[in-house]
């Protein structure tokens, strides 16, 4: 485990030094760390804090403020279901209930096999194609039961 921790710190150090010359580099660094590891490992926080001359608490405060940053790895797929008003008007409540039932998990949970993490999202800008979702960054509109069943099957492959 010692080795793994050191490895994380080393990889984080490379990222931090790549980006620290930016104006206001903290969010780009955190995005890059999450891209690298799939989440923001706690071991990376002291590395960032040291390089940017911040306290660990300040970095922790920023990481926990934003919904995007994860403290644990997500599933292989991330499925975001829009729960905002335009999708509500087209039955996003039903969409959420149906996909939870199909995957057997609730929002902010990952299936046991690690296949998919389910999350609510408040607007994807697909409001004229409601109800909408995003699977691994790709938009999906006008969801119905059939589409949800296809998604549910596809993420388990």
């Amino acid at each position: 485990m010692q080795h793994a921790g050191t490895d994380v710190a080393e990889r984080a150090t490379v990222i931090v030094h790549d980006l620290m010359e930016l104006e206001g580099p903290l969010l780009p660094i955190l995005h890059s760390i999450q891209h690298e590891f799939g989440y923001v490992p706690s071991e990376t926080l002291p590395v960032i804090a040291e390089a940017l001359n911040l306290s660990n608490a300040e970095v922790h405060g920023v990481v926990t403020f934003y919904h995007d940053y994860r403290s644990h790895p997500a599933g292989r797929h991330v499925l975001k279901i829009c729960q905002a008003e335009a999708c509500q008007s087209m039955g996003s409540d039903h969409v959420a209930a149906k996909i939870k039932q199909l995957l057997g998990i609730g929002f902010h949970e990952t299936t046991r096999d690690g296949a998919v993490t389910l999350e609510p999202v408040y607007c994807l800008g697909l409001c004229a194609c409601a109800p909408a979702a995003m699977l691994d960054g790709e938009p999906i509109g006008r969801l119905n039961d059939e589409a949800l069943e296809e998604i549910s099957a596809a993420v388990r492959l």
Binding site: E23, L27, H31, F65, S89, A128, C129, A130
Partner: protein, 518 residues
């Protein structure tokens, strides 16, 4: 001659299967040995017809839609490459009433050009505004924008020219242009469409803002929920830099201006300008108290223009055609055009750019065609999660900042969500409070605590516990939030709550029938 086939790469079109359509079209071109190329354009904004495929013919463009991948072979059989007739034929897209009735100034190119082609951009009028601005004094550029009557399209409606003048008049060693592309309001997608469909217009608008105020650096803060917009804007900035539009000498002038694209991290409140500035600085996206105004002490404490995408994207056409041309559209103190987004449970959803002044009823019934479900319209929410719910009785309200304010509503970023008669307005009011509780930055008490108490109070009301008392309490709470919150999140959450309560009081009454049925 090579035939050009347009298939949108816009997120909305992709959400409806445009990628599969593009693959099928590419396959048919190859199998049939046709001399044709595919251009991934933006969307025209007619989302009930997406994916909408267009073909350039000798007599102009011919559109087909909504096209599924399984339709593609039949479309080619029907002679799509020469505009042949097919049940999905829509004819000349510009003649579709939804498009024909629009006045497209800001969205003039969106859906027509290849988004990342500078040649397309310039052959459709792009860069004309910036070329004029380069030859003008900063004060003259600011005066033109002021005289056009352009007001902030992000929601606040503050005159753009006045903001710019403050930054121009504030001496500093460094100034910034920040584009607020944190378009988090439900029912809004105009920013996304322009960034994906005509990114150079935003680059041009920001560069003009830089010349006008003496700022040399711009940031576009795009929400992370828009990965495609981030990709297109990043590419556009690189192309503009290589072409000498950005960099140390903007279009060969002595002025320097460059742009950096930044991604948000999933916080709705960062659409609030001071919170966005904190986020750009690498801090928690907590709202700042004003004053100082960002125009005087903004990003990193320097004078900063912070404008919405549409405000900045409207600047090039104002510089190009003059303040008078823009100002001639509109009504009262709402000048020019506004890209209205018609969304939710609506038959013809999409982007409708028009001069201010159309009534809500025209937009929902005539343009939108009523609900998608075919049931009666019960309510429309205008202005996103912080906007008021309007009943049909208020459908004569013209789209105008002051007219909406006069009816206890707001235009916001001009999104309209349509709900049919199955909507439960108590549930919608509760959601407004819940959303505020989820997204509150936590800095001020009315928003942080008030939203949670609001949810609890509305839950008691729904359970039939002392209903009159709960209504009095929620009304008082909304008053406190409206006048006591630091920013629009806590301050405007009362709009959806109180409008639902005022206009749909029957939904807040005890419901013995429903409980008996269950």
């Amino acid at each position: 001659m090579t035939v050009t086939i347009y298939i949108p790469g816009d997120s909305g079109a992709l959400a409806l299967g445009a990628e599969k359509v593009a693959r099928a079209v590419a396959g048919e071109i190859q199998n049939r040995g046709l001399d044709a190329r595919i251009v991934r354009n933006g969307s025209r904004g007619l989302y009930w017809l997406e994916p909408m495929v267009e073909v350039e013919t000798e007599t102009g463009r011919v559109a087909y839609g909504p096209v599924k991948a399984s339709d593609v072979a039949a479309l080619f059989d029907a002679g799509l490459v020469s505009g042949g007739s097919h049940p999905l034929s829509l004819g000349n897209p510009e003649d579709i009433p939804f498009l024909k009735r629009q006045t497209r100034l800001t969205f003039a190119r969106c859906g027509i050009v290849a988004p990342l082609s500078l040649n397309d951009y310039q052959s459709h009028g792009g860069l004309a505004g910036l070329r004029k601005a380069v030859g003008m004094t900063p004060a003259d550029v600011v005066r033109t924008v002021t005289e056009s009557g352009l007001r902030g399209r992000g929601g606040a409606g503050f005159p753009t020219g006045i903001k710019w003048k403050t930054v121009l008049d504030t001496a500093a060693d460094r100034k910034y242009i920040v584009c607020n592309a944190d378009e988090g309001d439900s029912a809004t997608f105009a920013d996304r469409m322009i960034m994906e469909g005509d990114p150079f217009v935003l680059v041009e608008g920001m560069t003009i803002a830089g010349l006008a105020t003496g700022a040399t650096k711009g940031f576009v803060y795009i929400r992370s929920e828009y990965p495609h917009a981030i990709a297109v804007m990043t590419a556009a900035v690189d192309i503009a830099r290589n072409a000498g539009i950005l960099g140390t000498t903007v279009l060969g002038s002595p002025n320097a201006f460059d742009i950096e694209i930044r991604s948000g991290a999933g916080a709705y409140v960062c659409g609030e300008e001071t919170s966005l500035l904190n986020s750009l600085e690498g801090k928690r996206g907590v709202v700042r108290a004003k004053p100082p105004l960002p125009a005087i002490q903004g990003l990193f404490g320097k004078p900063t223009v912070i404008n919405n995408v549409i405000s900045l994207a409207s600047v090039p056409v104002i510089l190009d055609r003059g303040a008078e041309h823009y100002k001639d559209f509109g009504m009262g103190r709402s000048r020019g055009t506004i890209p209205i987004q018609i969304a939710g449970n609506v038959k013809h959803g999409g982007l409708f750019e028009a001069a201010f002044g159309m009534t809500l009823g025209e937009l929902v019934d005539d343009i939108g065609g009523g609900t998608a479900t075919g049931r009666p319209v019960k309510a429309v929410q205008v202005g996103g999660p912080l906007g008021a719910y309007f009943p049909r009785e208020l459908f004569d309200t013209p789209f105008d900042y002051e007219a909406f304010a006069g009816k206890d509503g707001l235009i916001g970023h001009a999104g309209i969500t349509v709900f049919d008669d199955s909507a439960d307005m108590l549930k919608q009011a509760r959601f407004a409070m819940e959303f505020c509780a989820i997204e509150s930055c936590g800095k001020c008490t009315p928003c942080r605590i008030g939203s949670t108490r609001g949810v609890e109070t509305l839950d008691k009301l729904a359970a039939g516990i002392e209903p009159d008392k709960q209504i009095a309490l929620v009304t008082d709470l909304c008053n406190t939030m409206k006048f006591g919150s630091l920013c629009a999140l806590g301050g405007f959450t009362p709009y959806p709550v109180m409008s639902a309560l005022t206009h749909f009081r029957e939904d807040f009454a005890p419901r013995p029938m429903q409980e008996a049925a269950e």
